[in-house]
C-alpha cells in the first residue's frame, strides 16, 4: 500500500457553509475530535484478544523455560498498539464534509460530503456496551469493499452518537421543517416468532459451521488417531431404531442452534418510524446491539421472501430495497426478521405508504408461461428418470429406479412455480412474484426504476415470452418479471415510465441503426 500524504488535504472554504447552530453535536465536531477516552480500555482488550494465540504460546514457553521478564512484552505490545490506535485516530465534521484520519505509519484520511450519507448504523459489542460506547458506521453507498475505505467512528458515547446520527441524516436530506414528534413503534419482537427460527435453514448453516470447527479441534487434538470405531460399544439397539433416533437428535440440535442464532441477532427487535424526519429506525441484538436508520427517500421498495419452510408455517421475512445499498450490506436493509406473514404484510404496507402493492392479486403470465414452467421442471427430471430406467434395463442395480422419484417432485415444483408467477403495476409500484423454494414478492416504486432490460432466449422468443428486468440502484440491482408475454412486458414498462419506452416500441417494431460490420 502506498502511504497516503493525507496531512495536506486542502482546507475547504469554510465561509461557503453556514456554521452549525451553537450547542449542537455538529458544532462540537467541527474541530478535530478524538474518539471517546474510554476506548483506551476497549482497544487494548481487543488487541490482547487478537494476540491471544501468540500469548498462549508465550505462556507455554514460559512454563517450559522458566519465567523471564522480557516475555511480558507479549502483553505490552498489544496494549501499546491499542493506545496508539486511539491517539492517531481523529475525526471532524466541518464545511459539509466528514473527515476521518487514522494510522501512524500510513496516515489515511477519509473524507466524504455529508449529503452523501445514506445510512447510519450504531453497533455496540458487549465491551462497548459495558462502557456505554458504540460504533457509528456511516454508509455512503460506495462500491469499494476495502475495510480501509469505510467510515467507522469506533467508540463514541451512546448519546453523542445518537445526536450525531440525527443531525447527519437531517443534513443529508436537507429537510429543514422538522417537527418534534414522538417515534411511533411499527413492530416489536414477540417471543412467539421464535417458532419460525428452525424453519429458516440458518440453523443448518450454524450447525455446519460448528461441526467444521469441532472437527478441526478434534483433528488438532489428535482425536481421530485415537478414535477406533470398533472399540465404541453400540447400545443394544437395531439400526432401524438408531437411524431415526440420530436424525431426530440432529434435527433437535439444528433447531436449537437456529433458535439461538435468531435470539442473538434479533432479540429486542424494534422498528420505529420517526415521523418528523421521515426515517425508519431499527434496533436489535442480544449481545451486540445494532441500530440502523434508513432514510425514507432512499427506500425504493421492499422484498417479501418466503422460503418453503416459512411459507408452510405462514411466515415470511421482509427486507427493504435501499438505494445505494447492495446485497453485501444486507444487514442494514432487513425490516422484519422471519415472523408471521400478517406482521410482514402490515409493515410492508406502512413502509410503502400504500396497501395496494401488497394486497392486489397478481396478473398471471398466461398459458405459455405455464407451459414453460412445466417443461423446464420436467425435462431435467425426465432425463434423470429415463436414465435410471435405462440403466436398470441394462442390468444395473435396481436402486437406480429411485430416479423416478424426481418426476413427482419436479411436477410439484412446476405446479407451485406456476402458482407463484405473477406481476402487477399498481399505485406507482411494480410488483413481481416468482419462485417456489424461496418465493419472493418484490415491490419496487416506479420512480426508482432506472432502466429496462428485456431478455429472451431462443426458446422464450419462440414462445413469445420475455423476461422484463427493471434495474435499480439498490438491493439486487434489478427486479425481474419472469416470462411475461412480450406485449404485456412492453405495456407494463410503458405504463411505469411513460416517456421512456414509447419512442422505441412501435407495435413490437424496433427501429434502430445497425452496428458497424467487422
Amino acid at each position: 500500500m502506498t502511504p497516503h500524504d493525507g496531512a495536506h488535504v486542502t482546507e475547504p472554504d469554510l465561509s461557503a457553509y453556514p456554521p452549525p447552530e451553537p450547542g449542537t453535536e455538529l458544532q462540537r465536531d467541527a474541530e478535530w475530535q478524538r474518539l471517546d477516552p474510554r476506548m483506551l480500555f476497549v482497544h487494548p482488550i481487543r488487541e490482547v484478544i487478537r494476540f491471544l494465540p501468540v500469548l498462549i504460546v508465550f505462556a507455554l514457553a514460559r512454563t517450559a523455560a522458566g519465567g523471564e521478564p522480557w516475555q511480558l512484552l507479549g502483553v505490552a505490545i498489544p496494549v501499546a498498539l491499542g493506545l496508539l490506535r486511539y491517539l492517531t485516530t481523529r475525526f471532524r465534521i466541518a464545511a459539509g464534509r466528514i473527515e476521518l484520519q487514522r494510522g501512524l505509519l500510513n496516515r489515511h484520511v477519509l473524507s466524504t460530503p455529508v449529503d452523501r450519507v445514506r445510512t447510519v448504523d450504531l453497533t455496540s459489542s458487549p465491551i462497548h456496551r459495558l462502557l456505554g460506547l458504540t460504533t457509528l458506521k456511516i454508509g455512503t453507498g460506495t462500491a469499494s469493499t476495502s475495510d480501509e475505505d469505510r467510515i467507522d467512528l469506533d467508540g463514541l458515547p451512546l448519546d453523542r452518537a445518537r445526536a450525531l446520527r440525527e443531525q447527519l441524516l437531517r443534513t443529508s436530506t436537507a429537510d429543514d421543517a422538522i417537527e418534534e414528534s414522538p417515534d411511533r413503534e411499527v413492530v416489536t419482537f414477540a417471543l412467539s416468532w421464535l417458532r419460525f427460527a428452525p424453519l429458516t435453514g440458518s440453523g443448518v448453516v450454524i450447525a455446519a459451521a460448528a461441526l467444521g470447527a469441532a472437527s478441526q479441534l478434534l483433528q488438532a487434538t489428535g482425536f481421530f488417531e485415537r478414535f477406533n470405531p470398533e472399540t465404541v460399544r453400540l447400545p443394544g439397539l437395531s439400526l432401524v431404531v438408531l437411524v431415526p433416533l440420530l436424525v431426530a437428535a440432529a434435527l433437535a440440535v439444528v433447531s436449537l442452534l437456529a433458535i439461538g442464532g435468531y435470539l442473538v441477532t434479533n432479540w429486542g427487535f424494534r422498528l420505529t418510524r420517526t415521523r418528523g424526519s421521515g426515517t425508519w429506525h431499527l434496533t436489535r441484538g442480544l449481545f451486540t446491539t445494532r441500530e440502523t436508520t434508513l432514510d425514507d427517500e432512499r427506500v425504493a421498495g421492499v422484498n417479501v421472501s418466503e422460503p418453503l419452510g416459512l411459507r408452510a408455517a405462514r411466515g415470511a421475512r421482509l427486507s427493504a430495497i435501499v438505494t445505494g445499498l447492495d446485497r453485501k450490506q444486507q444487514g442494514s436493509s432487513a425490516l422484519v426478521p422471519p415472523g408471521p406473514l400478517a406482521v410482514v404484510e402490515r409493515v410492508a404496507r406502512e413502509v410503502l405508504d400504500s396497501a395496494e402493492p401488497v394486497d392486489t392479486p397478481l396478473v398471471g403470465h398466461g398459458p405459455r408461461a405455464v407451459r414453460r414452467r412445466w417443461t423446464r421442471a420436467l425435462a431435467p427430471a425426465g432425463v434423470v428418470a429415463a436414465g435410471g430406467v435405462l440403466a436398470v434395463a441394462l442390468g444395473e442395480p435396481t436402486w437406480l429406479l429411485a430416479g423416478l422419484v424426481t418426476l413427482p417432485v419436479a411436477a410439484l415444483l412446476a405446479w407451485d412455480r406456476t402458482r407463484s408467477l405473477g406481476h402487477a403495476l399498481v399505485a406507482g409500484h411494480l410488483v413481481a412474484r416468482s419462485g417456489s423454494v424461496v418465493r419472493r414478492r418484490r415491490i419496487l416504486e416506479a420512480d426508482h426504476v432506472i432502466g429496462w432490460n428485456f431478455q429472451a432466449t431462443w426458446f422464450q422468443r419462440r414462445a413469445g415470452l420475455t423476461t422484463l428486468v427493471a434495474t435499480t440502484a439498490g438491493g439486487n440491482q434489478a427486479v425481474a418479471v419472469l416470462d411475461v408475454p412480450e406485449g404485456e412486458a412492453v405495456r407494463v414498462a410503458q405504463a411505469a415510465l411513460p416517456h421512456l419506452i414509447g419512442e422505441f416500441v412501435e407495435l413490437g417494431d424496433f427501429p434502430a441503426q445497425s452496428a458497424a460490420r467487422a
Binding site: 432506472i450 432502466g451 432490460n453 428485456f454 422468443r461 435499480t472 421512456l500 419512442e503 422505441f504 452496428a515
Partner: protein, 143 residues
Amino acid sequence: MWLTTSAAGALVVLVALVVLAGPMGVLDVPWWLVALAGALLAAYVAVVPQWRYAVHRWEVTDTAVYTQTGWWTRERRIAPMSRIQTVDHVEGAISRLFGLATVTVTTASAAGALAIVGLDKDVARRLVDELTVKADAVEGDAT
C-alpha cells in the same frame, strides 16, 4: 471482429483438445468425438458472428439509450438519459486491428450497463461526446 474473436477462441479450444487427446493422452476419447467437437466449433464460428451481427442494434435519442445484443439470449436494454452516470470508450487489441471501439454506458444500477460493441472508431467518439453532452444537460443525481 466477432468472426476473429470467435475463430481464435475456437482454435484455442480445438488445439487444446487435439493436444490433450493425441500426444499427451490425458483425455481418453475416441477420435470421432474430437472430430465432432471440431465440426461443432466450425459451425459456431460460421454461424454465431453473423447471428450476433444480425441481432445487434443500438439507438440514441434525446431522452434515452437503447441497445439490443446477444444471439441465443437476446437482450434489449433501455436507459434514460437522466440516469446515465459514466460513458466509457474502450478499444481492445482486436478491435484496434479493425479500427473499432466499444462504448459502455453505465447507470447507478449494476445491472443496467449498456455496451455498444464494435462501433467505427470515429462514430464511437462522436457518440461519446453526444452522450456526455446530453447526459450533462439533464438535471438530477442519477440514482
